[in-house]
Amino acid sequence: MPYNETLVAPMRAELTRLGVKELRTVADVDAVLGDPRGVTQLVFVNSVCGCAAGAARPALTLALRHPVLPDELYTVFAGQDVEATARARSYFSEYQPSSPSIALLRDAEVVFFMHRHQIEGRSPEAIGADLKAAFDRCCGAKV
């Protein structure tokens, strides 16, 4: 059962104020992830848990200061926007659901995925460094 929206609003705002766009419906998800346009897309699967609050969201905040970034930034909220999250996960191919998690897609293909088990117990700085390295590998100009 979703938490009261008043409780999770700050968890959403922590990302939207960075310019990350929320995908709250199936239609929202299909409109962007279902339309491969040669762009790189980051999808942050948000959640109410401590790993998101203390690690993943701060890590993304740090990573988005990097000079190389995905073309588009999106988030879905696991446990809150249930159908949108399930729809987004359907674009993640064989990568299993977990939250928080972070997917990087290029031309609708997953080119980097960070699972919950790669987030839990780590510092935001370490996670952010992994994200920046992924941005460098996957989001630079195509050769």
């Binding site: 203390g54 690690a55 919950r116 088990h117 780590r122």
Partner: protein, 92 residues
């Protein structure tokens, strides 16, 4: 100040909330540890594998693609648990 890893729920087991691999005779479990004491080990969002010969492949695949959830909660008697270790420790 040096960066500190985020450690939630300090009043709980050290591995609470962490993705662990639990080795038992005949079955390898992977899931989030909820509690572990001298009576039982409780895991959530659990995957498992029964073929000892292909455990290494199962764990490699799990590290790359994540846990394929098969049970929401698994409760194991501690007496039947050979080991509990972090999934990410196996990647090192």
């Amino acid at each position: 100040m040096a960066a500190q890893p985020f450690v939630p729920h300090t009043e709980r087991h050290d591995l609470h909330g962490m993705t662990v691999v639990v080795d038992t005779p005949g079955r390898l479990y992977v899931g989030r540890l909820d509690t572990a004491d001298d009576r039982e080990v409780v895991l959530k969002d659990v995957g498992y594998h029964d073929d000892e010969a292909t455990r290494s492949e199962f764990l490699s695949r799990t590290l790359k693609f994540g846990v394929t959830r098969r049970d929401a909660v698994v409760i194991l008697p501690t007496s039947g648990v050979r080991s509990v270790q972090l999934l990410t420790a196996l990647a090192r």
